[in-house]
């Protein structure tokens, strides 16, 4: 199995979700690992050296597999786990497996154990959360379990670090020459049906289950294996798969007799490990209180993204400004200085400015996930999400989209099923993010009587703003429903959702997760954002003209490439009530939507920033006249522009993150084109309707 020349032993870490596998991996590797990505998909695996205990024997590399309930490829995670365990995709087959089990929930955890034992790899079992099992009144007889499984078993409590040294020591014995294969109880010979599919019974069983689950495309099955499955036919496959699953559970129940005490007397209806959680759930999933608490939690997340991130964002912006000023004063004026300050430094700013929101969202999501509340949130909103055809897990990312699409799109990783994840990713940029707000305020302030009361306390400005948010919400939900039924057609994902016991999150793991996600963003999406910022700066600044030599009323920006582009696209903009000046703004706002404000400022020769008061710009826009003397922008133009911003994907950072998350340029391109078309058509309709109503 292990190559004689191999310098390090590879040990795969496998286990169900919610068993503390990540904590254990972090403890064993001292949180020093590299995050790897499988080609083409976004299932992550992490790899790190065993760093606990004296370094005897060969070094040991731990590979953390995705947490799964089974190896049957009903989703990518399971396929990745199986392929990693069997050495597909050109990776070496692991030398051993470290199985992490939840001591309080063995009756389900052992199913995966048996599947892995069947692969014939040496296994070491870590029985985690033994303290909770004991508290729940279901203590595990560790020796009896080890004997029943024929595998070494170490009891641990990953939260406090109990048993970690013993686990590490056991792993190190794997490197010793006395090591024997420990695969035992489950490695039975294949049946006649299995033999017809593949020579390796474990692979045959896997392929049969995959065929029954309509997931052969995830297995990389060979043509001859496929042919064998076709020949068997669905009824035979179905019967074989049922028998294999039932046989494993029969074996689980047999193994557990004598390992955990039998339940006696009047039993509570809850699982032993859920007695405390069930009490908490009397409030958290209560018919009325449940949704109330849920709304409060979401309000907290939302509030933090909107306002708690603000001071940090302000700080980053001033730091970037300070750095730009410093560079300018050190290097003096010049083309190179401009490139550095307005291109590179501004680009770095455009990247770093997302960090507070990303970090905050992942902090909250991590805490909600690790505490067990996220499963309850999905339980509470599933009914609503099922109407679109998604499951409850899509809710938090969608909501986060109101603050910023970047962290929201990164947050879709909890959604299993690539199509469902993609639908959610495509919906998110329709949610009206905070960067659209300055655009709405500018337009409303310039072209509408923002403070005029309409009904009761509601002003024209407030109602218009509400209208834009409603349009964006219905747009997102509607587009989601459409994608789900057409382009990304797939059945509403079934909900088979474990409601794990509530647990205190291990903060170090959460912090590490936040850091991993943020670093990932800076590295992958950040590079694209930086590059595009520099390109956009070039388009808006070159060719350079001396403002002194220009006729009155003309600004340098309209002679730039972007300026010429803006003029070139004017024929397309006229039908939606815009002119070339807005065209330049649209090009500039691709860096970030709110940049529309400062770009328009440049077009009109007003130095202004988003954070500054935009009153002078509003004034100019309001009073601007065409050569014929009519107002250049009317209410219809304003409405059309706002509607365009509701639907358009005016954000290169969103596209960069979608590229990162889908591992291809196909979907960001689709997003850009489809959203621009939708935005244009919506703006066109708005302009016509507004004109028809005499605005």
């Amino acid at each position: 199995m292990s190559d004689a020349n191999q310098t390090s032993l590879h040990v795969a870490v496998a286990g169900n979700p919610n068993v503390g596998k990540t904590s254990l991996f972090n403890l064993l590797t001292h949180s020093r690992y590299k995050v790897g990505n499988y080609p083409g998909i976004t299932v992550e695996t992490r790899e790190g050296q065993l760093r606990v205990g004296p370094p005897e024997g060969k070094p040991i590399t731990l590979i953390d597999l995705p947490g799964t309930y089974s190896l049957t490829p009903t989703a990518e995670d399971e396929a990745v786990a199986f392929r990693a365990l069997t050495g597909a995709d050109g990776q070496p087959r692991p030398d051993a497996v470290l199985l992490v089990l939840d001591a309080s929930n063995l009756a389900r955890n052992l199913y995966l154990t048996l599947q892995i034992v069947e692969l014939g790899l040496p296994c070491v079992v870590v029985l985690n959360m033994v303290d909770l099992a004991e508290q729940a009144g279901v203590p595990v007889d560790v020796d009896a379990l080890a004997k029943a499984l024929g595998l070494p078993v170490v009891p641990t409590v990953a939260r406090t670090g109990v048993g970690i040294e013993q686990a590490a020591a056991l792993l190190r014995t794997l490197g010793q020459p006395t090591q024997r294969a420990m695969g035992g109880s489950g490695g039975s010979g294949g049946s006649e049906i299995e033999a017809r599919v593949a020579s390796d019974p474990a692979r045959a069983r896997w392929l049969l289950a995959a065929a029954e689950a309509d997931a052969l495309e995830l297995t990389g099955a060979s043509p001859s294996e496929r042919a064998a499955l076709v020949e068997l036919g669905p009824p035979v496959i179905r019967k074989a798969v049922r028998e294999q699953i039932i046989a494993r559970y029969t074996e689980v129940d047999r193994l557990l007799a004598g390992v955990i005490p039998a339940e006696r007397g009047p039993r509570p209806i809850w699982a032993p490990a859920m007695v405390v959680s069930a009490k908490i759930d009397r409030v958290l999933t209560h018919r009325i209180l449940g949704p109330v608490v849920f709304l409060a939690v979401m309000a907290l997340v939302f509030q933090s993204l909107f306002s708690w991130a603000d001071p940090l964002i302000g700080l980053i912006e001033s730091a970037i400004g300070w750095l730009a000023d410093l560079t300018r004063s050190t290097l003096g004026e010049g083309a190179f200085t401009d490139l550095l300050t307005e291109g590179v430094i501004a680009g770095v700013g455009n990247v770093v400015v997302f960090v507070p929101q990303i970090a905050l969202l992942f902090l909250f999501v991590g805490l909600l996930e690790d505490s067990g509340y996220m499963a309850r949130a999905a339980f509470l909103v599933d009914r609503l999400m099922a109407r679109i055809g998604l499951n409850g897990k899509a809710f938090v990312p969608l909501l986060s989209g109101y603050a910023c699409a970047i962290p929201a799109i990164m947050g879709t990783r909890t959604i299993s099923g690539f199509k469902d994840r993609l639908v959610t990713i495509l919906m998110i940029p329709f949610m009206s993010c905070s960067a659209r707000l300055p655009v709405y305020t500018l337009v409303i302030g310039a072209l509408f009587a923002a403070n005029e009361r309409v009904v009761g306390p509601f002003t024209q400005g407030g109602l218009l703003l509400l209208g834009m948010y409603m349009l964006s919400t219905f747009g997102a939900l509607g587009m989601g429903a459409i994608y789900k039924r057409t382009l990304l057609r797939s059945p509403t994902p079934p909900l088979v959702l474990e409601l794990p016991p509530y647990r205190l999150p291990r903060l170090r793991d959460t912090a590490r997760h936040v850091w991993d996600r943020t670093a990932d963003f800076l590295r992958d999406a950040g590079t694209i954002i930086l590059a595009v910022t520099v390109v956009l700066w070039g388009l808006l600044s070159y060719p350079k003209v001396d403002p002194e030599t220009l006729p009155a009323g003309e600004t340098a920006i309209e002679h730039s490439i972007a300026g010429k582009l803006g003029k070139a696209i004017e024929p397309v903009l006229t039908p939606i009530g815009q002119d070339w000046r807005i065209g330049i703004g649209l090009i500039g706002s691709f860096a970030a939507r709110e940049v529309l404000v400062s770009t328009l400022g440049l077009v009109y020769g007003i130095e202004s920033d988003v954070d500054d008061d935009d009153t002078p710009l509003r004034e100019v826009i309001r009073t601007a006249k065409t050569p014929e003397g009519t107002p250049r922008y009317g209410k219809a133009s304003g409405l059309a522009l706002m509607v365009f911003f509701v639907f358009a994907c005016q954000c290169m950072s969103t596209l960069a993150v979608v590229k990162r998350e889908t591992q291809s340029w196909r979907w960001p391109l689709f997003m850009l084109v489809s959203m621009t078309v939708i935005a244009y058509v919506a703006a066109l309709l708005t302009f016509w309707l507004a004109k028809a109503f005499g605005l």
């Binding site: 309930y69 089974s70 049957t72 009903t74 309080s104 929930n105 063995l106 009756a107 389900r108 199913y111 279901v138 289950a209 029954e212 689950a213 309509d214 997931a215 669905p234 179905r238 798969v241 049922r242 699953i245 039932i246 559970y249 209806i269 809850w270 699982a271 032993p272 490990a273 859920m274 959680s277 069930a278 759930d281 999933t285 209560h286 018919r287 009325i288 449940g290 949704p291 499963a375 999905a378 339980f379 509470l380 599933d382 009914r383 609503l384 099922a386 079934p494 909900l495 088979v496 959702l497 474990e498 409601l499 794990p500």
Partner: protein, 85 residues
């Protein structure tokens, strides 16, 4: 103990226990339900329903799992009415 035949898991009342008889249907969903432990002979109990009546919270083996009613309908059970001594 008295037994009642021919119900689906979706028809259980809150607090009621039942024994799984069969998982109907085919394909991915049936495989998943079986692999999560809904195999014939196992005991399940309905803990609660979500605020809008769906999904359900069930106890199965050593854990709690949530299924929609649509999926629970595929699981045939024999209701186990516990006669309290």
């Amino acid at each position: 103990m008295a037994f009642q035949l021919g119900k689906s898991l979706a028809e259980l009342e809150i607090g009621q226990r039942a024994i799984v008889k069969d998982v109907e249907g085919e394909g991915r969903m049936a495989v998943r339900l079986l692999e999560m432990g809904f195999v014939p002979g196992v005991e399940v109990a309905l803990i609660k329903r979500a605020p809008f009546g769906d999904p359900l919270e069930l106890r199965l083996r050593g854990y709690h799992v949530s299924l929609r009613r649509a999926e629970a309908r595929a699981i045939r059970v024999e209701v186990q009415t516990e006669v309290q001594a």
